[in-house]
Subunit: 159 residues, 4 copies
């Protein structure tokens, strides 16, 4: 099924160790939904929300590319289809936002906030799901994975 998401790159960002079960379920559903619509899932490649999104994409037969912070593949989630070590540490968050056509944030952490702020600063469409408590204009605020996917379709159709 052709969709405005087909062939587009969507970064799914969110907490690693501090991710809640809720965040993980939602990230997995979003990863799955993105893959079903033909989007490539980008993540930071590690555990937590990143891993859950990669798992969802992989379950749907899609592609998840992980941009890793370290200089090698240590710690990469096995659910990634491809992994790219950057050796940039937290600067890889900025690469992730740059490489993406849109960003979905699931849950809250300081790392996630860097990605949210960078997306806003550089004009990358942003969907927030239970994300950091930000001003109302921070991005499209949604309540669940289905709404998140609908919001992405709307943002990338208009793009």
């Amino acid at each position: 099924m052709e969709s405005p998401l087909t062939g587009r790159y969507v970064a799914v960002v969110g907490p690693s160790d501090s991710a809640r079960d809720d965040d993980l379920e939602r990230a997995r559903a979003i990863g799955r939904g993105l893959a079903e619509r033909g989007a490539v899932v980008l993540t930071g490649g590690m555990n937590g929300v990143m891993q859950a999104a990669a798992q969802g994409a992989s379950e749907a037969g899609g592609t998840a590319i992980g941009l890793l912070p370290g200089p090698d593949r240590a710690g990469a989630a096995p659910e990634n289809t491809y992994t790219l070590p950057t050796g940039l540490g937290e600067l890889r968050n900025a690469l992730l936002v740059r490489a993406a056509d849109a960003v979905v944030a699931v849950g809250s952490s300081w790392g996630t906030l860097t990605e949210i702020a960078l997306a806003r600063r550089t004009g990358v469409p942003l969907v927030l799901l239970d994300a950091w408590d930000l001003p109302a204009d921070a991005g499209v605020l949604v309540a669940g994975p289905g709404e998140a996917l609908d919001a992405l379709v709307g943002l990338l159709r208009a793009d």
Copy 2:
């Protein structure tokens, strides 16, 4: 006068075009105070809060180093003592935080928020002055330049 700030690198971050007069006055006072205490002022090298902080440092006979986003020195504030083009765009915000022993945020913008979040994510001491409306534990919240300098002295003495 020897101070816990002597020889330390403090990044002053804040809005460029959207900086308010208040932000500029405060950034200038902080830049001056840092230079008087022997600290090196780091900024993003452009206008607004960055320029005001560099101006303050320069008025006090100190040093301001600007890490520019572009591939050359176009748009650099003339008040910088030294400027370094990075060609990294907004990724230079992450460099700025990494190169600093502490960060002071004056005022609010999405670019400023990337620096605040990166400082928190990477454990760099952070002082917030009229900065983004963040959770109470985001950093040391202060009401004016004098308090900001005192807070930095406290953070870097303990460091």
Copy 3:
């Protein structure tokens, strides 16, 4: 067919505009051979040797990932399976080398030499095919695509 190259990431680097027909044919054969052995082909994502390697990988049903220098996908070769804009300009050469398990250089240019030198500097196994006129110990010097693939198998088996 399982091979020491299966699941490994090999960067194919070489000139863009100044690539000779010979370079292009060889890069394409190497891209094809890598894909046939299950390796992921990494390139700088643009024209010349990068495009030829991606084309070879794609003809063999494999995967070519292009790390682009610009902030968006403009100028990306259509033969890439996936493209990631980095906005890093020539710094993306360093990312390419970092993300790769081995590097093959086909032909000579200053950009290619940065990748060769970075691979040597950081210890990434390197195979040179008609590459820059370097000291004999610069890497494994080979005369054609078949030898290049054999050399990669040897280097990555030992890895």
Copy 4:
């Protein structure tokens, strides 16, 4: 004395551990000469040629700024006037070239070659002193520190 070098940024690059005594003496003389002409010396901030250039600049009362590869100031040469940790590893070589108005290479190593190749790739004026055995058009080849300084004056006057 006003000079075409006054206020310009010149990167002095060369080997660290493998630097020969000759390289060190020459780097120090170049650092001194640059500082006497009002140029800011940029280096990779560590030992060997980098340290010698910083020492020369500092002896002449000038400024040496070191862009360090690590995430903190560990290993920085004490002769630097200012140091900036980048956490970029070998990618900081590219930053160094980008931030410089001209590059002088003293001696040979793979790291030095990355800087030479990047300077050539990005059009930064380049002077080579006993540097890597490169094609004759690689840069302005000189035989000693005095010639190197003269060559820089010529390149930056024309700039």
